[in-house]
Structures are given as C-alpha cells and as structure tokens.
C-alpha cells in the first residue's frame, strides 16, 4: 500500500496518541479490580464497552453501590457513551462503504481519540489512515494495559490506603477538564456537581450521578448561558465542540503534538 506524506503523518499521530492513551488503561484496570470487579469483568469492559469515560463511570458507581447499583451504572455509562454516536455520524463518510463487517469494527473503534485524529487530517485518505491507526493502536494498547492494571490491582489490598479513591476522582477530573472551556459547559458542570453532592445522603448510590443528566437536559434544551465561542478551541476533546453552532469540521486536534499538550496554535 502506497502511503502519501499526509498518510504517514496521520499514521504517526495515530500511533503516538494510541500509546499515550493506552497508558490510562493501567489505572482503569487497577481501579476496576479495586471497585470489586474481577479481572475478566474488567477486561470485558475494555474489550466490548471500550469507551474510557463510560468504563470509569461503571466502576465508579459499582465501587460506591456494589452490584445493586447496576441500573444507574448502566444508565450513566450509556448517557456518557451517547457522544460516541455523534462521532460515528461524523466519521461514517471517512470509513465509507465496504464489507458488512468493516462498519461493525469501525463502530467499536469510534471514540474521542480516533475521531479527533481522523477529522484533523486534511486529505480523505489520511483521515482514513488516522481513524484506523488510532483506533487499532488504542484498542490493543488499552486492552493490554487494562489487563496489566487489573493484575496489579489484585495485588493491592485496601483501596483507600493506596489512594486509589483519590486516583479515581482525579481520573474523572482529567476526563472533564478539557470540556470546560465554554461558559455553558462550566455552568453545567458546576450545577451537576452540586446537585450530585446534595443527593448523596438521600438517594441510593449511583442515583446522584444519574440525576445530573437532568442538568444537561435543562441547559441543553433551553440553551441557557450560551455564548458565541470567541476563539478556536484547542485540545483533544474539542473536536466535538460543546456547541454545535460552531462548525463541526474545525478540529482542535493538532497533529504532531502529544494530545495531552494539544498546544494552542
């Protein structure tokens, strides 16, 4: 297969993003086992659910409520995963037509990072290379790292003694942080956090998180506190702008940079 210079750039970006992201898999694996899942359940989540935010949500809610918090865990995971459906719509033309199984595989690999790298490329073939390289690199790396983290987690006894509860909280901060650049998103985050905290003593585990969905609905449907974006957003997760009025084809992903740095150009 002949790769153009743009294809090769996309390939390199995909692999480097894949390696960087895969490293989180270790923390997921360790936290999942600490939350009470076994190694196989942990690996199943990374193999089949394969969406970081949702996976952390499932184990976070199980950690606080055990198996009986299954319903809110599933609902929270799915609400968080809805954005992947939007990414699918965006990358569908990049993936294109093909044998029936290609879309099934593409669907499974459609997450924040593969979408970000794909749409950051200018040329159609490079978009395709970027999507598949990133998706496959993360899939392999994330699953290997999850397995390693789960085995590591099994060696760890008391969760709190090792600060894993703080690690879980910090992980959610890291997933949330890049999405707070607009006033509306920051306001939703603030109100959702306060509401969830207030509900902790009065509702079963998992429900405070689920209830926060109402905050998104209220702000989203009324478009309350919406401001026109003043500048081009940067950072990986802005590939899906918080505001759909912003053209969707202005990726904030800068190829060649480590995505954690997502430098402002």
């Amino acid at each position: 297969m002949a790769l153009s210079a743009a294809d090769k750039r996309a390939l390199r970006t995909g692999i480097s993003v894949g390696i960087a992201v895969a490293a989180y898999g270790v923390s997921f694996g360790a936290l999942s086992v600490a939350a009470g899942l076994d190694v196989w359940q942990t690996c199943f989540l990374s193999l089949v659910l394969f969406s970081g935010g949702s996976q952390f949500a499932v184990i976070g809610i199980i950690a606080s409520g055990g198996a009986s918090a299954g319903i809110p865990a599933i609902a929270s995971s799915t609400f968080l995963a809805l954005r992947n459906g939007i990414y699918s719509m965006r990358v569908a033309p990049i993936v294109g037509e093909g044998p029936w199984w290609r879309r099934l595989v593409a669907a499974q690999l459609t997450i924040d990072e593969s979408t970000a790298v794909a749409i950051a490329q200018d040329e159609k073939s490079a978009q395709k290379v970027g999507f598949w390289t990133t998706g496959i690199a993360i899939y392999i790396g994330w699953n290997l790292a999850t397995f390693a983290g789960a085995l590591l987690g099994n060696l760890v006894g008391d969760v709190n003694q090792f600060g894993l509860d703080a690690v879980a909280a910090a992980a959610f901060v890291g997933l949330l942080w890049p999405r707070l650049k607009q006033l509306q998103a920051a306001a939703v985050a603030m109100v959702a956090a306060v509401l969830a905290t207030l509900l902790i003593p009065f509702t079963p585990p998992g429900v405070p998180v689920l209830a926060a969905a109402v905050v998104a609905l209220v702000f989203g449907l009324t478009n309350w506190l919406h401001r026109e974006p003043v500048a081009q957003a940067d950072g990986l997760l802005e590939v899906q702008p918080d505001d759909a009025d912003e053209p969707l084809d202005t990726p904030g992903f800068h190829p060649g940079h480590n995505h954690e740095e997502g430098a402002t150009s």
């Binding site: 459906g85 600060g163 759909a244 480590n258």
Partner: protein
C-alpha cells in the same frame, strides 16, 4: 443485578450507540439541540462523578484526603501535565496525607 449482567448490558449498549451513529442520517448533526444536549450530558455526568468520587462515602459525605488530591489534580491538568502522571500524583498525595494522619 449481578456484576456480570451490569458489565454485559453496559458494554452492549455502548456498541449499539456507536453503531447506530453509522445508520442514522448525517442531517441529525445539523440539529444543534441534539448535539448540544449530548455534549452537555457528557459534561454533567463527569462532573457528578467527580463530586461523588471526591466526597461520597457510601451514602455519607466525607471530607478527607481526596479533596486536596483532586484540587492538585485540577491544577496539574490546567498546566497540561499528562493524565497518567496526574492520577499517580493524586494517589500519592492522598497516601502521604493519610500516613501523616492529617486527613482520614
């Protein structure tokens, strides 16, 4: 509900959402309310998870070593320190504070 059932249902639904995106018409992307609600849902759920993970202790609220760890994490993330480094630092801070007996 058993843990396995939770894991399997959540995983299958995640795939269904991803695959559905390939089946529904692209014109949905032009509906601002639809994409806005979806994006804000992500923000709201993550923010609630931060709050519950940092303050919840079963059905009680407890202020402990997680709070300074989370505040430090937020500061580090704003300086674009890599994810894996930040979460490790957060864990270490919590352990150190607990061992010093400053915070439970």
């Amino acid at each position: 509900m058993t843990l396995w059932l939770t894991v399997i249902i959540a995983s299958v639904l995640s795939f269904v959402v991803k695959y559905t995106g390939y089946l529904i018409p692209q014109s949905m992307l032009e509906k601002p309310t639809f994409t806005r609600v979806t994006n804000l849902l992500t923000v709201a759920m993550l923010a609630a998870l931060v709050a519950v993970q940092a303050l919840g202790s079963g059905q009680a609220i407890s202020v402990d070593a997680r709070i300074p760890a989370v505040i430090l994490a937020a500061i580090l993330f704003s300086f674009r320190v890599p994810f894996i480094v930040v979460v490790a630092v957060a864990g270490i801070v919590a352990v150190v504070l607990r061992n010093l007996g400053w915070m439970a």
